[in-house]
């Protein structure tokens, strides 16, 4: 009896180990990586130019017909605390005292990633990465599981928790419906007096960003944030100080978030295929009694 049980445990251990090792050692290379739609638009955000006028917040509120804000958009007291996007504000600007005499402002909004985490985590396919570059949301299928909020490495999607009958995810959509579809820049880019944001094809903006750094190396940290982060984002940033100091996650992974789950998801069809035979086999081995019959051949127990 003991020998058989050990044998079975061994089978099980080997089976699980084999499955695990084969999964762990195989990389998710078969799928390749998505470099983005060729004509996808993007925005280059130059933090050194922002003066914190909040015109972008005002323009977004008007364009997207958002609810009335708590404070006027020319009220600078909002900079006392660090804000994030909410159901009423698709973009916010935060202020960072990076040195005694130096402040930097950072505009936060959806970065319209090339391989968005929100899209990858949505089980009803509510998100779409359009060929124009925007990551948009289909409110008519959203169940409200909020996995996208968990997944977004930038903590962008907000949820209208306060609505009893139709709570939805709220986030920047790159002014897709009203502007980007027609090739026009979003409202925030349009209104910005300092051209903090430069609009163009993402591929061109990557070159432009590096050109700007090269033209003025003393002014910028030599990094285009979002060029590679989580597989590349359409909204990219230039800064004069380390990105950690202005609220960015400096340790963010370069692989898109979906690559974190690819190995496990690949395991699923393996389990579905292997487990039936494996455990039926175990059953046959385990239940053959001395007469050579299996349990069930003797008739059912009550």
């Amino acid at each position: 009896m003991i020998e058989r049980r050990d044998f079975l445990k061994g089978c099980l251990a080997c089976g699980v180990t084999a499955a695990t090792v084969s999964v762990a050692s195989g990389k998710a290379m078969a799928a390749g990586s998505f470099e983005g739609y060729p004509d996808a638009m993007g925005v280059l955000v130059d933090l050194t130019r922002c003066v914190g006028c909040r015109s972008c917040e005002a323009a977004c509120n008007a364009e997207q017909k958002l609810p009335e804000p708590d404070l006027a958009f020319d009220d600078m007291s909002v900079f006392k605390e660090k804000r994030r996007t909410t159901e009423k504000a698709y973009t916010v600007v935060n202020k960072y005292q990076v040195a005694t005499e130096e402040t930097l402002f950072r505009k936060i909004q959806c970065n319209h990633c090339t391989e968005p985490a929100c899209l990858s985590s949505c089980f009803v396919n509510a998100y779409t990465k359009t060929k124009e570059g925007a990551v948009i949301y289909n409110a008519s299928v959203c169940v409200g599981c909020r996995n996208c909020m968990i997944a977004c490495p930038f903590n962008i999607p907000a949820y209208s928790y306060s609505s009893p009958l139709n709570p939805l995810v709220k986030k920047c959509i790159f002014c897709y419906d009203t502007r980007l579809k027609d090739g026009k820049p979003p409202a925030c880019v349009d209104i910005c007096p300092q051209q903090v944001m430069t609009f163009g094809r993402r591929a061109d903006l990557v070159k432009l960003g590096h050109d700007r750094i090269q033209a003025n190396p003393a002014k910028y940290v030599d990094k285009l944030y979002g060029e590679k982060a989580v597989g590349g984002t359409s909204w990219m940033y230039l800064s004069s100080v380390d990105f950690d100091k202005v609220g960015f996650d400096g340790h963010i992974q370069n692989e898109p978030i979906i690559s974190n789950v690819k190995d496990f998801l690949g395991f699923v069809p393996m389990v579905l295929s292997i487990w039936p035979a494996l455990f039926t086999g175990v059953h046959l081995l385990a239940t053959k009694n001395k007469d050579g019959h299996h349990d069930h051949e003797e008739g059912d127990h009550q």
């Binding site: 396919n125 409200g144 968990i150 490495p153 903590n155 306060s162 939805l168 996650d249 349990d295 069930h296």
Partner: protein, 443 residues
Amino acid sequence: MKQFLTRNPGTQVIDSLRKDNDKGRPWTLMEKIFLGLTPQQYVSQAMGNPLNWIFAVIFLIGFPVLIGRYIFGLSWAVGDPYDNAWGLFLAFGLFGMVPLSSSGFQLGSAVEVFGRHDFEPIERLGILNGILGYFFAVVFLMVDLGQPWRLPYPMVVSWGPEAVLFLVAWHVATYLSVQAAETSTAFFEWMGWPAGKTFIKKMALGLAVAGIILSTLHQGALGALSTYAPGKVHPLWYSASFQWLYFFVSSLPGGLCMVIVVSTIALKTMGWRCDDIYKNSLSKLQIALAKGASMGLITYLTIRLIGIAHDNKWAYLATGWGAWWMVEIGFGVILSLVLLTAGIRNNSVTLVRMGAWTTIIGVVLNRLNVYMFTFNWQQGHVHIPPIREIIITVTVYSLYIVTYRAILYRWPILFKWKTRYSDYAVLEPKPVAIAEAEAASSK
């Protein structure tokens, strides 16, 4: 009920299809629901149970709050947690309860796949524990979802198959069906529908294997969900490569120990309902379960440590969060191992039962840590849920306990149904007394 039966010895609590030791007329459904007591007797014994008073208070406060969540919207119950989108309903109600409900596939497969029929006295309890846990996890989900009426959407309206949650949704739906089928044998016995029971029993092996497949995947998937947010879970609780294994492996001792805990509570509080087979075999079976649980726990401890070594996270152990990690592992895993193995070695079911408690607390604590307490740890503050969220969680969990108890009181889970159904005849031949009486009245 215990007190009622002590004061009224000779009361026959329903344990068969028919009155008078299965020789009289069949019990009606209402009689079965009241366990053979009159409604007045039943209510009076219920009022005499102090636990019911506690539940009454919980429900008096909790149901209005639960209804308020739907009338006023989620923010009335949980606030506006943008950064911590998942709160107590999911971290406890779903992520916490599901691993403890893995007893369904474990006990089902122990009996059907591995042929360990000696576990039959607690097989049904394990399966019931499984389905109730998953069912109430779905109830918690219905409370948490922004638009719960859209729950069927990932099945029939719009598919997002690359999402781990898609897998979870489909699996939980399928697995609930599997478990409903496995639980139905007890239900069919109780209702007196032997054809249903026969039908299900033919699929027993298939259901058990399906249960193993589905459970492996969704227990693992619940862990994989956290890999969408690698920067947000504390490194000591996170492994890019092994997260799904952490969750799957820890669900095994979690489910087995939950059976130990529930079967002990049943023995102590519902001894009148347990038959001699159950009472006499329970200690031996609990120690056997403890053997499985302790193997699961030592494996779990090993892979947690391997995970830390794999990404070289030892330095984190010296931080405040590291101390908390040691509390979770020390109490939930190491202390459990000590208690369980001491109980096994000394044949002490008391130690085993203590170890079972520390195990299930440890598993739930782990899920709360991954999805709530250490979530967004870098923001520097721990998210504490608002009071209404806590009230609703307690209310739904109490509903789970009350439902559990109601089923254990009635269905043949802790006892064998005295009416024996053969596989091919609908019922035993009518008792002679009834047949003669009917023949006489039709003349």
